[in-house]
Each structure stands twice: as structure tokens, then as C-alpha cells.
Symmetry: C2
Subunit: 276 residues, 2 copies
């Protein structure tokens, strides 16, 4: 089962259906992908999903109110982490690895503090520790990117996820083409209500404290591009610094979506990290 053919299923989490897909191995510690602001199941790069699924049981999920999942998206990262814990229990997962991108990386950070026993290892890509400036601008950046993209005939991800160089923009084209490979059973898009709740959660994140990170003992791989306009690259440096056992990788000429641009390098480093 590959990223583009995996069936979308739902599981009941305290009365709400959560949509998810499973790809790759059918046993071993699951590797759960946690989505970014505005993203649904179809926003995951098949190159990354299938690359990691070669050696892992990969699970993609829409949290509450996102994509095809039911319920209303909560407006705090903490509540999203509680939803994630409920989802993991509903699938019977006692221990997981997490790949969190942007807002998903924040959810992972909180889960590791709320329920350390559930988390074996984490990969945190294009994200920031609580208290760092950046995430509160997400909605404004999105609106600007929508305008710029419309004016230039581009996708907003050209602006938000990649650096402005020709090489990075070409990588954006290739990434967007991969996202369009799946033709059947595509996920629903996020609603404006969900975008609003997520933006509020991101704004609150800037007002929160990163203190608890120093208690996270799990091995963490922190990844970003050297030119991230959404969660500034320095925040990945700060995140790795707070965490007692974090390895940091910053990729050249890349933005918020560095793991998608440099997918071959990322998959290789992630596989190595998860197996070490």
C-alpha cells in the first residue's frame, strides 16, 4: 500500500470519527505523521511517506475537525495533543514515533510532555518551541501568499514552503506534482473555521513557555530549511538547544518545506535516526 493508494479509514475517538491512512509495514512501532497548519492527508509528500514506509508502519491522521475527520478543531496545541493521544489509544498504539511538521511538530512536543510513555522518538520539521516569534503570523503569511500566488500564477506553497531561488522553486513544482499524483479517494480540504482555530492555537503557542522541553528525554531529530519564513530557521536551532537529546539538520536553499524539497536526504537521515 503506497501513499497514493492507501485507503482512508476512520476510527472512533470518544464519539468522533478521525480519518487516517496506513502505509508500509504492518508491524513495528508506528510512525505517526502530524500535519501542518491547513493541511489534510493529501498534503503529505508521497516521496517522504513511501520512503519512510519502506521500513516503518506509517500512519497519517487528520486530527479533530481537519479534512475528513469529524468534530470541531480546538484552538490550542494542548487540546490537539490530547486528541492525538485519544487517536493513538483508539488504534491500540502503546508507543509511537512521531513526525510533526510545523504545527504538527508543536503537537508532538506537547504530547511528549503530556504522555512521555507514548513517544519513542520524534522528528520535528519546520517547527518552533513555544515562546518563539513566528507562528502567530501564520494567518497573515497565508493571506499574503494567497494573493502573491494568485498574482503570479503559483501555488501558495511556492511562497510559504520554498525559498525564492530557481532551484527551490523547481523543487516546489516537483513537490506539488507529487501531491497531485493521488486521484482517487482524496481528502476533504480544511474549512475556514478550522483554519481560524489553528491560527489561534499558533498565536497562543508564541505566548507559551518552552520550559518543559528540557524534560523531554526522547531522541529528537530537528529538521528545517535555511530560509524558513513561517517558523524562522533560528527557532529550529533554539528547539534543538532546549531539548536534551536533539540532533539538528538544516538543509541548504530551502524553506519551511525543506523535508519535501530534500526528500531523499531527509528520508535517509530520518531512517537512520529512527533505527539508531
Amino acid at each position: 500500500m503506497s501513499a497514493n493508494s492507501a485507503v482512508t479509514r476512520t476510527v472512533d475517538v470518544d464519539g468522533t470519527p478521525f480519518a487516517y491512512r496506513e502505509i508500509g509495514l504492518t508491524e513495528g512501532v508506528p510512525l505517526v505523521f502530524l500535519h501542518h497548519f491547513t493541511a489534510v492527508l493529501d498534503d503529505w509528500d508521497p516521496a517522504v511517506v513511501d520512503g519512510l514506509a519502506e521500513r516503518h508502519r506509517v500512519v497519517l491522521v487528520d486530527l479533530r475537525g481537519v479534512g475528513s475527520s469529524g468534530g470541531t478543531t480546538p484552538d490550542s496545541v494542548e487540546a490537539m495533543a490530547t486528541d492525538l493521544a485519544g487517536f493513538l489509544r483508539a488504534l491500540g498504539f502503546g508507543e509511537v514515533d512521531l513526525l510533526g511538521v510545523s504545527m504538527g511538530g508543536m503537537i508532538a512536543q506537547v504530547l511528549a510532555q503530556q504522555e512521555p510513555g507514548l513517544v519513542r522518538r520524534m522528528i520535528l520539521a519546520g517547527t518552533s518551541p513555544a515562546g518563539d516569534a513566528g507562528p502567530a503570523n501564520a494567518l497573515a503569511l497565508l493571506q499574503n501568499a494567497l494573493q502573491q500566488a494568485a498574482a503570479e500564477g503559483k501555488h501558495p506553497k511556492h511562497v510559504l514552503f520554498f525559498s525564492p531561488t530557481a532551484r527551490s522553486q523547481e523543487a516546489a513544482d516537483a513537490f506539488l506534482a507529487r501531491l497531485n499524483e493521488r486521484t482517487e479517494d482524496r481528502d476533504a480540504e480544511v474549512t475556514n473555521e478550522t483554519i481560524g482555530a489553528q491560527a489561534t492555537a499558533l498565536a497562543k503557542w508564541e505566548q507559551s513557555s518552552p520550559e518543559g522541553l528540557t524534560t523531554v528525554r526522547q531522541p529528537v531529530l530537528v529538521v528545517n530549511g535555511d530560509n524558513d519564513v513561517m517558523t524562522p530557521t533560528i527557532s529550529s536551532f533554539n528547539l534543538a538547544k532546549y531539548l536534551p537529546n536533539a540532533q539538528l539538520s538544516i538543509y541548504p536553499d530551502a524553506g519551511h518545506g525543506a523535508l519535501f524539497q530534500h526528500h531523499a536526504l531527509f528520508v535517509e537521515q530520518a531512517l537512520e535516526f529512527l533505527s539508531a
Copy 2:
């Protein structure tokens, strides 16, 4: 030929004998190791040398006035880079990869600007761009470390190259044991005169400008530990930021000698980087 058995040879560089050792492949683009402040040929970790030599022609060198080389160590990084260019030409190398640690990483940065055609790729470990604070303290840090090490029955590298945690200090013990594996044909230690000239060069480095780094087009892998007291970790972040095509790796719970502590991970990332 392994790190511990490689014969020490000399080559004449404009009338001065430069000591060097060759390990690994006998063809391909040479990978030249550039030593740190106070280091000689025997300060290279055999785990790193032999790991990289499995796929590369590795060349270790004592620059002018260092170890068994003749001449007087110059007191600027620029002059050291000129010496390096002379050494490469003396061996007939038209293009090389460079692994520069600390001061060696500074020499590599300058060579890539002075003679871009000579440099294919660079790995810069535990080093800093010109203008960043840190290197000017090297001599004072060394003197403090000598005192602390004597008081605690340790080697100064326990203090200068590793973080204070139990895990990192154990890695220091293992590293120092590896450095002692070679019993025959050991190199001469650096003289106080050389240490003084190198310290002057490091102090001048802080007063220099990093501007030229933006013109370095070669792929660069920047590596450090998350707790470097000699060239603060943030300088590796800054270095990667100046360079247009740099990948950054920061290793957990490690100091200036992160590449020696995490030698398996470093060798793997370095091999991947050099072959990409």
C-alpha cells in the same frame, strides 16, 4: 593502510618539508584533513580517518611549523591557507575535498575564497565564520582547561572538546583511547611558539569579515555539537547561513569534538555528503 599504520612522509613546499600521511584509496579526489589549534597528525580520531578512508583518499597534513613539519607557523589564517595551497600543489592535487576542524575549518573557508578551483566540497566542523566571537578566547580556554584537567586528573580535551555530561565524558575517554592506539612513528607535539602564532591567528579571525562566504559556491557540510565552548554552536548556524549551499548538522550532548564523539553518525553523513 590505516590511520594507525600510515607512514609519515614529507613533501617539499617551497623549501620547507611538510609532514603528511595518506590513508585509504589511492585514487579519486583527495580528502584533506585540516587540523585544529594545537593539533598534530596524531590528534585525528582513527575512527573518523579510517571510516572516511574506506571510500576516499584521505590525506592528513601538518601545516607550516606544526608537528613534524618545518618552518615557522604563520600568525594568520590567510597565510595558513596559502601554505595549504602550496602543499596541495606540491602533491600534484588539482582539486580536493576538505575536512577542516576548528582552525582547520577557517583555513578551508579562506582557501575556498582564495583558490575556489582547488576545492570541490568542504566539511567544516566545530568552526566559525570570520567575525564571530569565540576563537580569540582559545588560548585562555586552553590554559583554564590545562589547570582544570590537572586538578581533576583528566585530559584538557575532556574539558574543551566534550560536554560535561557523563555520556559525553565517557565518549571523551573512548576518543582519547583511540588517539593512543598508534604506538610507532608518532608525530612531534606543537611548540609553544606555534601555539602562540595560532592563537594570534584565531584572534585576528574574530576581527575579520565573513562577507566573502556568500561567494563560496561549493557544497558545504557544517557540523558541530550542541554545546561547543570553543567556537560557540551558534557560529556553526551563522556559518551555514552565510554560505549559499551549506547543510548543517548539530549533534546532541556534544561539544567542539562532536565529530569524534558521534563518529559513526558523522562518518555516515560525511560519506553521504561527499558522494551526493
